[in-house]
C-alpha cells in the first residue's frame, strides 16, 4: 500500500434532504491505508459523508471516485466497502459466526472456506470462544468486535465506522481505541472513522477532517489541527484554547503582531500563507493553549500581561487556573500547569504577571 495514492476522492459532493441542504460542495481525498477521522459536532454532516460513501444514500450533486473510477451510482452491495454501524446492526437470529460469515455466504463461497475465514476473523478480534453465541448473549464491547470482524472479513478497500464507540463506557472506549488502531495497523486497510469526540480523534487518526454545518473546516494531522487551526471554529472546537480578539498588525518574517485588549501580542504564522497575506487591521484572534501560558519571570521578553486568578481547579496531573484580565474588554483565560505535591504556587485572588512565547501562539482570522 502506498500512503500517497488516493484511494477515494469526493468531488464537489452536495447532499440535500428535500430542500434542506446538509452537505455543501465537499472535496475530500482519502489516502490508501490511512486512518482518517471525520470529526464534527452533531448536525455537521459527518455521518452523511459516511453514508454517501457507503452508498446508503444517493448524492444530490458531485461525484465519488474509487481509484479514479466514478462510483457515485454503484449500488451499495457492489461497493468494496463495509460499515461498522453505530448500533452494530448484528443479526439477532444468527450466531456470532453466522453474522461474521454472512458477507461471504451471500457471495456463495464454499462452506469450508467460510468456516476457515470466520475462524481467522474471530481470532483477529479475540472472540474465538464466542462463535456459537447469539448477539444478545454478548457484552457491548464484544458486539462491537463482532461487527468489526463482520466488516473486515470481506476484505474491503475501506472500512467505514459510524461512531462505533459512542455506546461504550469510558474505560472500554479507551481499550477499543487502542484495539481498533492496532487492527488497522495489522491489516493495513483504510479506515474512515466518524466521531464527535475530539479526544478519540486525536488518539487514533493519521489525519482528521473537521466538519461543521455541512462544510469541511480543516483537514490535517492532529498536530496541525492543534497548533495551526485555520479558523475560529477549529481553534475553539479542537482542544481547549484561549482566543483573544484584536486587529492584525504588520507581519515580520514568520511572525505577526496583533493589537488586543491585552496589549500587543506577537504570534507565529509559519507555513500559513493566508495569515501573511491578510491585510493590516483585519479582525483576528490571538490563540494560545492553556499549557502555553505561564507566569512571567524577569527573563521573559514575550507577550506578557497581568491578570487575576479567579479560580483554581485541581485536575489530577494538571491544575487549571481561570484568569480574568482587567480593563474594559475583560477576558477570561485558562492556564494549565503540572500539579505539584506541595500545592499550587498560585493563590486564588492573586494578581500575577503572565506570558506566552510568540512561537506558541497562533493567529486565526475572525
Amino acid at each position: 500500500m502506498n500512503q500517497n495514492t488516493d484511494l477515494l476522492t469526493l468531488r464537489s459532493v452536495s447532499k440535500s434532504y428535500g430542500t434542506v441542504p446538509v452537505l455543501h460542495d465537499i472535496d475530500l481525498s482519502i489516502k490508501d491505508g490511512e486512518f482518517l477521522t471525520v470529526l464534527g459536532p452533531s448536525g455537521s454532516g459527518k455521518t452523511t459523508v459516511l453514508r454517501l460513501i457507503g452508498g446508503l444514500e444517493p448524492l444530490t450533486a458531485g461525484e465519488i471516485r474509487l481509484d479514479g473510477q466514478d462510483i457515485s451510482r454503484m449500488p451499495i452491495n457492489k461497493r468494496p466497502f463495509n460499515t461498522v454501524f453505530q448500533d452494530y446492526a448484528l443479526f439477532p437470529h444468527m450466531t456470532v459466526s453466522g453474522n461474521v460469515g454472512y458477507g461471504l455466504s451471500v457471495r456463495h463461497m464454499k462452506r469450508k472456506e467460510i468456516t476457515r475465514r470466520v475462524a481467522e476473523a474471530l481470532e483477529l478480534v479475540q472472540l474465538g470462544r464466542f462463535a456459537d453465541r447469539f448477539p444478545a448473549q454478548l457484552s457491548g464491547g464484544q458486539r462491537q468486535r463482532v461487527a468489526l470482524a463482520r466488516a473486515l472479513i470481506c476484505q474491503p478497500r475501506l472500512i467505514l465506522l459510524d461512531e462505533p464507540l459512542a455506546a461504550l463506557d469510558l474505560e472500554l472506549r479507551r481499550q477499543m481505541q487502542e484495539f481498533l488502531k492496532s487492527i488497522q495497523r495489522e491489516i493495513k486497510t483504510t479506515f474512515l472513522f466518524v466521531t464527535h469526540d475530539q479526544e478519540e480523534a486525536i488518539g487514533m487518526a493519521d489525519r482528521i477532517c473537521v466538519m461543521q454545518a455541512g462544510h469541511i473546516r480543516q483537514l490535517g494531522t492532529p498536530h496541525d489541527l492543534y497548533y495551526k487551526p485555520n479558523c475560529e471554529f477549529v481553534a475553539r472546537f479542537f482542544g481547549e484554547n484561549n482566543l483573544v480578539p484584536g486587529k492584525l498588525g504588520p507581519a515580520q518574517g514568520e511572525q505577526r503582531s496583533i493589537e488586543t485588549a491585552l496589549g500587543r501580542l506577537v504570534c507565529s504564522i509559519s507555513d500559513q500563507p493566508h495569515l501573511k497575506a491578510a491585510p493590516d487591521g483585519a479582525s483576528a484572534f490571538a490563540a494560545f493553549r492553556p499549557e502555553a501560558l505561564h507566569m512571567a519571570d524577569a527573563t521573559d521578553s514575550g507577550n506578557s500581561f497581568s491578570g487575576t486568578i479567579a479560580d483554581l481547579a485541581f485536575a489530577g496531573s494538571s491544575t487549571v487556573a481561570t484568569i480574568t484580565t482587567g480593563g474594559d474588554a475583560a477576558q477570561r483565560l485558562r492556564l494549565r500547569m503540572p500539579s505539584r505535591i506541595d500545592g499550587s504556587v498560585l493563590k486564588s485572588g492573586e494578581t500575577v504577571s503572565l506570558c506566552f512565547a510568540p512561537h506558541e501562539g497562533h493567529l486565526v482570522l475572525a
Binding site: 452508498g55 452491495n77 466497502f81 460499515t83 448500533d87 458477507g103 466488516a151
Partner: protein, 266 residues
C-alpha cells in the same frame, strides 16, 4: 404503586376478587357440569361421569362440523398470513395511503359481525359466487386480516432499519436480504399472528352463518343444537372449545414475546 395504605389494599383486593368471580365463574359452570349427567332438567351431582364426552365423540354431525372448522381455519390462516405479511411489508415505511389502508383493513374487524356478514353476503350474490366453504374462508380472512397485519407490522417497525442496511452493505441482494434477514426476524410474529387468526376463525359464528352453504362449522353447529334444546353433550363441547381456545392464546403469547427477551443470557 406500593405506597397505598393497608386498608385500601384490602378493599381493592376484595373488589378485584368479586369482579373476577362474577365475570368468570359462569365459564366454569359448563366445564364442571360436563362431568355430570342431567336428568329431568337438573344436574345430578352424585355421580361424576365422562358419558357426555362419549356421546359427543359418537355424534357424527359434530365430528363433521369439527372437520369443517379445521379446514376453514387452516385455509384462513394461510391466506391471512400471506396477504397480511405482504401488506405490512408493502406499507412499512410508506407514508402516503397507509392510514387509509389500515382503516380499510380494520373496518371488518371493528364493525358488528352481522354488518360485515351481510355486506359479504350481498357481494357474493352480486358476483354470483355460490355460498360454500370458499365463501366462509374469504369471510374469515377479511375478518382476521387486521390481526395478522398489525402483528407483523409492529414487528417490522421494531426491527432496526440498519439490519437491512447492514445486509446490503455486506453484499447481499434484495432477495437474499428478504429471505435471510427480514423473514427470519418476522417469523415469530407471523406464527403468533397465525395462532390468533386460527383462534378467531375457530370461534367465528355470525359471519359464518350468513355466508356458509350447507356445511356448518363447530360454533354454528353448537348454535343449531341450542335451538333444539339443551343437551348434555353441549356442556362437553363448550368445555372442549374453551380449553382449546385457551391453549391457542397461551401459544400465541409465547410467540409474540420479542426474540431478544427469549434469548437473554442465561
Amino acid at each position: 404503586m406500593n405506597a397505598l395504605p393497608r386498608p385500601s389494599t384490602i378493599f381493592l383486593a376484595a373488589i378485584t376478587a368479586l369482579v373476577a368471580v362474577l365475570l368468570y365463574s359462569p365459564l366454569f359452570v359448563p366445564i364442571v357440569s360436563s362431568f355430570f349427567t342431567i336428568s329431568h332438567g337438573n344436574v345430578d351431582w352424585s355421580s361424576p361421569t365422562l358419558a357426555t364426552y362419549v356421546a359427543l365423540a359418537e355424534n357424527h354431525d359434530i365430528l363433521a362440523a369439527l372437520r369443517t372448522t379445521l379446514i376453514v381455519g387452516v385455509c384462513t390462516v394461510i391466506l391471512s398470513v400471506v396477504s397480511g405479511t405482504l401488506l405490512a411489508l408493502y406499507y412499512h415505511g410508506r407514508r402516503s395511503g397507509r392510514s387509509f389502508l389500515q382503516f380499510i383493513i380494520f373496518l371488518p374487524f371493528l364493525m358488528p359481525p352481522i354488518i360485515s356478514g351481510l355486506a359479504l353476503l350481498i357481494f357474493f350474490r352480486e358476483i354470483h359466487l355460490e355460498r360454500s366453504l370458499l365463501t366462509v374462508v374469504i369471510g374469515h380472512t377479511v375478518f382476521v386480516l387486521a390481526i395478522v397485519y398489525r402483528t407483523v407490522l409492529m414487528r417490522l417497525q421494531s426491527m432496526s432499519r440498519t439490519l437491512v442496511e447492514a445486509s446490503y452493505d455486506l453484499g447481499a441482494t434484495g432477495w437474499q436480504t428478504f429471505w435471510r434477514i427480514i423473514l427470519p426476524n418476522l417469523s415469530s410474529a407471523m406464527v403468533g399472528g397465525a395462532i390468533l387468526a386460527f383462534a378467531l376463525s375457530f370461534d367465528e359464528t355470525m359471519i359464518t352463518i350468513l355466508v356458509t352453504g350447507t356445511q356448518s362449522t363447530l360454533p354454528v353447529r353448537l348454535w343449531a343444537m341450542m335451538r333444539l334444546g339443551f343437551s348434555p353433550d353441549i356442556n362437553a363441547l363448550v368445555a372442549l372449545i374453551l380449553m382449546f381456545t385457551v391453549l391457542l392464546c397461551v401459544l400465541a403469547a409465547r410467540f409474540l414475546i420479542p426474540r431478544q427477551m427469549a434469548t437473554e443470557r442465561t
